[in-house]
C-alpha cells in the first residue's frame, strides 16, 4: 500500500511538473523569426568597413549581439582633387557592415561624435519597430543612444539616418547594410564583397576641384553631380579594386543608398548565377542586370572563369562614364581560351576612368595652383587625359579614322589659329572640314566635362606630339575662348 501511494504521488508530481512545464513553456516561434530568448554570453558584433564583409556566423543559436556604431562628420575625397564633408556611420561611406543572425537580440548603441554639428539617428530596414529604430536613437553631438530589437526577418537590409532633412543626411553618405543571416547560414563562397551605390549633389560641377558643398536644389531636382560606388570616384578601382582568382565563387552584397536614383546594376563580362533580387527570399538565375531600388539591396553571386578586369556599373550608362558609377573586380589566374579568347577588357572600354595613375594630373593641378606649372608637366598631364577622352576617336597615335575622324598628327588645322582649335574642343565641331588635304564630315561633341586646366594640358600635349608645331596653351587662353559665345561654325577649309 505504501509503495502504491508513493508511486501515485510520484506520478502525480511528474504529471504536474510536465503540465506546468508545458503551459509555462517560453514562447518559441510564436512570432515567426523569434527563436526565443538570447542564449550564451553577449557577443560584440564585428563591424567592417567597405568593401569588406564580417565573417559568416557559425553559431546555431540566437544570441545577444551588441553593436556599437559611431557617427562621424568627416571631410574626405569624393574625386581627385575634390573633397566633401560626408556624414558617416563608422567613418566610411557606406557605413560599417553589420552582420547578425535571424532571431538575435541586437543591443544597438549609436554614438554621435562630439565634433559633429548635427544630431543623427538610424533607421535599420531590418528592424520591426517604430521608425526602424529612428525614434529611439535621436542623438545629439557628443552623446550616445541605445535601443534593442530582435532581428525577426532574415535578409539584407539598408540602414540610414532619418533626421530631418532626411534626404540631405542620406545624400551626405549616411547609409549602409545590415545582413540578417538565416538560421542555417549562407552557402559558402570564396569572396564576399560590400558595394553600395549612392548619388551625390554638389554645388560645383563634376570634378570641379576644391571643397564642395551639398546642393539641395539639385537633390530635389534629382540631378546628381556624382553617382558612385562606395562614396568616391576610384573607391574600387586601381589598387583599390576588388580582387579574386579564377574559378572562385563571388558574392556581392550590393546596396543602393540613393537618395534618389534606382540602380541598374551590371558587371560587365559576367552573368549573375544567382540574384536575390530586392534582397528578398526569392532567387533569380542567369541575370545580366538587376534593379536595386533606392533604399534597397540585392545579393548577387557568380563564378569567375576567365581572368580580367570586370567592371561594375550602373547601366544607366552615362552615370558610369560621366558621373563615376564604376568599380573594378580584378580576376587573376590562368587564361581559359575555351571560355573567352579575346583581349583584355579595359583597353577600349574604360579610357582613363579606371586609369590608376592620374598622378600626372595631380602634379599639374598642384603646380598650377602654386603658379609654377611647366610645359612638361602640362604635356604629361595632357597625355593622360588625352588617352581617356580624345583617343577614342582620334586614336592613341593621333591618326584619326579615315573619312570619319580627322588626324591630329602633323595637322594643318592645328597649325592654324589656336583660338579656333580651343573652340573646337570647347564647343565641338560639326560639318565639313578639310585636314591635310582630306575632307571629313562628322560630329565632334563639345567637351563639357573638361575644365580650363584640362583643355590647356591636352592641347599642349597634342601640340608637342606627332610632328605638331609645339608651344603651349594656357588655362587663361582657354578661359578667354570659353567666355566667348560659340559662333555657329561652318567648318573652314
Amino acid at each position: 500500500m505504501k509503495t502504491l501511494r508513493a508511486f501515485i504521488s510520484l506520478a502525480a508530481t511528474v504529471l504536474l511538473v510536465c503540465v506546468h512545464a508545458a503551459t509555462a513553456a517560453p514562447a518559441t516561434a510564436r512570432i515567426p523569426g523569434d527563436f526565443g530568448p538570447p542564449q550564451g554570453k553577449p557577443i560584440k558584433a564585428v563591424l567592417t568597413s567597405p568593401p569588406h564583409v564580417p565573417p559568416a556566423i557559425t553559431r546555431k543559436y540566437p544570441a545577444k549581439v551588441i553593436v556599437e556604431l559611431e557617427v562621424v562628420e568627416k571631410e574626405m575625397q569624393i574625386s581627385e582633387g575634390v573633397s566633401y564633408l560626408f556624414w558617416t556611420f563608422g567613418g566610411t561611406v557606406p557605413g560599417s557592415f553589420i552582420r547578425v543572425r535571424q532571431g538575435d537580440t541586437v543591443e544597438f548603441h549609436l554614438k554621435n561624435h562630439p565634433s559633429s554639428k548635427m544630431p543623427h539617428n538610424i533607421d535599420l530596414h531590418g528592424v520591426t519597430g517604430p521608425g526602424g529604430g529612428a525614434t529611439s536613437s535621436f542623438t545629439a553631438p557628443g552623446h550616445e543612444s541605445q535601443f534593442t530589437f530582435k532581428a525577426l526577418n532574415e535578409g539584407i537590409y539598408v540602414y540610414h539616418c532619418a533626421t530631418a532633412p532626411v534626404g540631405m543626411h542620406v545624400a551626405n553618405g549616411m547609409y549602409g547594410l545590415i545582413l540578417v543571416e538565416p538560421p542555417g547560414g549562407m552557402a559558402k563562397v570564396d569572396h564576399e564583397f560590400y558595394v553600395m551605390q549612392g548619388d551625390f549633389y554638389t554645388v560645383g560641377k563634376y570634378r570641379e576641384k576644391g571643397l564642395q558643398a551639398f546642393d539641395m536644389e539639385k537633390a530635389i531636382d534629382e540631378r546628381p553631380t556624382y553617382v558612385l560606388f562606395n562614396g568616391a570616384e576610384g573607391a574600387l578601382t586601381g589598387d583599390k579594386a576588388l580582387t579574386a582568382k579564377t574559378n572562385q565563387k563571388v558574392r556581392m552584397f550590393v546596396g543602393n543608398g540613393g537618395p534618389n536614383l534606382v540602380s541598374s546594376f551590371h558587371v560587365i563580362g559576367e552573368i549573375f548565377d544567382n540574384v536575390r533580387y530586392e534582397g528578398g527570399s526569392n532567387v533569380q538565375h542567369n541575370v545580366q542586370t538587376t534593379l536595386i531600388p533606392a533604399g534597397g539591396a540585392a545579393v548577387v553571386e557568380f563564378r569567375t572563369e576567365v581572368p580580367g578586369s570586370y567592371v561594375l556599373v550602373d547601366h544607366s550608362i552615362f552615370r558610369a562614364f560621366n558621373k563615376g558609377a564604376l568599380a573594378i573586380l580584378k580576376v587573376d589566374g590562368p587564361e581559359n581560351k575555351a571560355i573567352y579568347s579575346g583581349k583584355e577588357l579595359d583597353a577600349v572600354y574604360l579610357g582613363d576612368r579606371a586609369q590608376p595613375n592620374l598622378s600626372a594630373v595631380t602634379t599639374a593641378t598642384a603646380a598650377a595652383a602654386k603658379g609654377n606649372l611647366t610645359q612638361q608637366e602640362q604635356i604629361n598631364a595632357g597625355k593622360v587625359l588625352f588617352t581617356g577622352t580624345c583617343s577614342v576617336c582620334h586614336q592613341a597615335n593621333g591618326e584619326g579614322l579615315a573619312g570619319v575622324f580627322p588626324p591630329l598628327a602633323k595637322s594643318d588645322y592645328l597649325a592654324g589659329d589656336v583660338k579656333r582649335v580651343i573652340a573646337s574642343v570647347l564647343h565641338g565641331l560639326s560639318g565639313k572640314v578639310t585636314v591635310n588635304g582630306k575632307e571629313y564630315n562628322s560630329v565632334m561633341p563639345p567637351m563639357n566635362q573638361l575644365n580650363n586646366d584640362e583643355v590647356a594640358n591636352i592641347l599642349t600635349y597634342v601640340y608637342n606630339t606627332w610632328g605638331n608645331p609645339g608651344g603651349r596653351v594656357t588655362s587663361d587662353e582657354v578661359k578667354a575662348v570659353r567666355a566667348q559665345p560659340p559662333v555657329a561654325r561652318r567648318a573652314e577649309h
Partner: protein
C-alpha cells in the same frame, strides 16, 4: 512729421532710455558685451505652430551683439562658484561641462578668451543671463529666429538664396580645431555671429516638440504630444532653419556640446523704471 520718421525717433529715444536703464540697473562688473535693442515687430516663423497663418507678434527686447565669450563666462564662474566645473550638480550640467578649460577656474590654451564659450548646459546659460540682471534670459526661439533672418541690409533676408547659402556653407564644413573669435560682420540689427560660428541655446528649446523620427511630421501622436501632434514646419524648403531646430530638439537641458554656446536677451521693461 511723417509716420516713418516718428517711429524712427521713437526708436532712437527708446534705445537711449533703454541703454540708460540697463546701465543703471546692472552693476558694471557684470558684462562686457553690448546689447542692442530690437523693436517690436511681426515675424512669420518657420514653425507653423498651431495652424497659425498670420505672422507672430514679437515684443521689443534687447539682444547681446555677440555670443558670450570664454572670458565673460569665466568672470561669471568666479563670482558664482556654484557653477564651476566639478561643483555644479549633475542635473544642471553634464560631465562634459566646460571640459575645454584647463581647470575649473582657468581657461588655458584650448579656450581663448574671445572665443564663444561652448560646452555649457541650458541651466548654466540661463544662470549667466539671469546674472546680467534686468530680467535677462536666453532668447526665445521666436526672438532668435527673427534676428537670425536678417542679413547686412534686410531684416528678413530669408527669400534671398545667398542668406541660405551662407548658413549651409557652415553645415558643409567640418568642425575645425580652432573656433573663431566672436565679432564677425553685424547684420542690419547690429547683431553679430548669428550664423557660421556656433549653435545657440534658446529659452524654449524644449518647446520645439519635434518628433525624433522626423519623417513622421504631421502624423499626430495624440498620446505623446497631447492633442496637436508634433510641430510641423511651415516652410520645409527652409531646411537651413529646420536643421537648427533638429539640433535643439535633440538636446536635454543638462546637455553640453562642442558646437553649442549662447547669448542673452533682456526683455524691454513694461512698467516705468
Amino acid at each position: 512729421m511723417t509716420l516713418r520718421s516718428r517711429s524712427h525717433w521713437t526708436r532712437v529715444v527708446s534705445r537711449g532710455l533703454f541703454s540708460l536703464c540697463i546701465g543703471a540697473a546692472v552693476p558694471a562688473v557684470a558684462r562686457a558685451a553690448g546689447y542692442v535693442s530690437i523693436a517690436a515687430g511681426e515675424f512669420a516663423s518657420v514653425l507653423a505652430g498651431d495652424t497659425e497663418v498670420k505672422p507672430s507678434s514679437v515684443p521689443a527686447f534687447a539682444m547681446r551683439t555677440s555670443p558670450v565669450t570664454n572670458r565673460e563666462f569665466l568672470e561669471f564662474v568666479k563670482r558664482n562658484q556654484g557653477w564651476a566645473r566639478g561643483r555644479v550638480s549633475r542635473v544642471l550640467a553634464d560631465t562634459q561641462y566646460l571640459n575645454h578649460w584647463r581647470t575649473p577656474r582657468e581657461l588655458g590654451d584650448a579656450a581663448l578668451a574671445d572665443q564663444p564659450v561652448i560646452n555649457v548646459s541650458w541651466f548654466a546659460a540661463q544662470a549667466f543671463c539671469e546674472a546680467e540682471g534686468a530680467g535677462g534670459r536666453l532668447p526665445s526661439w521666436l526672438e532668435w529666429e527673427r534676428v537670425a533672418a536678417a542679413d547686412t541690409t534686410h531684416t528678413d533676408a530669408r527669400p534671398n538664396p545667398a542668406w541660405r547659402a551662407e548658413i549651409l556653407r557652415w553645415y558643409s564644413t567640418a568642425t575645425s580645431v580652432t573656433l573663431a573669435n566672436t565679432g564677425g560682420t553685424a547684420n542690419v540689427y547690429g547683431i553679430q555671429d548669428m550664423h557660421g560660428l556656433i549653435w545657440e541655446w534658446v529659452d524654449d528649446f524644449n518647446a520645439l516638440l519635434v518628433a525624433a523620427d522626423s519623417r513622421s511630421q504631421g502624423d499626430p501622436d495624440k498620446l505623446q504630444f497631447c492633442g496637436a501632434g508634433a510641430i510641423s514646419l511651415k516652410d520645409r524648403d527652409n531646411y537651413a532653419v529646420l536643421m537648427r531646430i533638429a539640433l535643439l530638439s535633440s538636446l536635454k537641458a543638462v546637455d553640453t556640446t562642442r558646437n553649442l554656446g549662447f547669448r542673452c536677451v533682456i526683455p524691454v521693461s513694461k512698467g516705468p523704471k
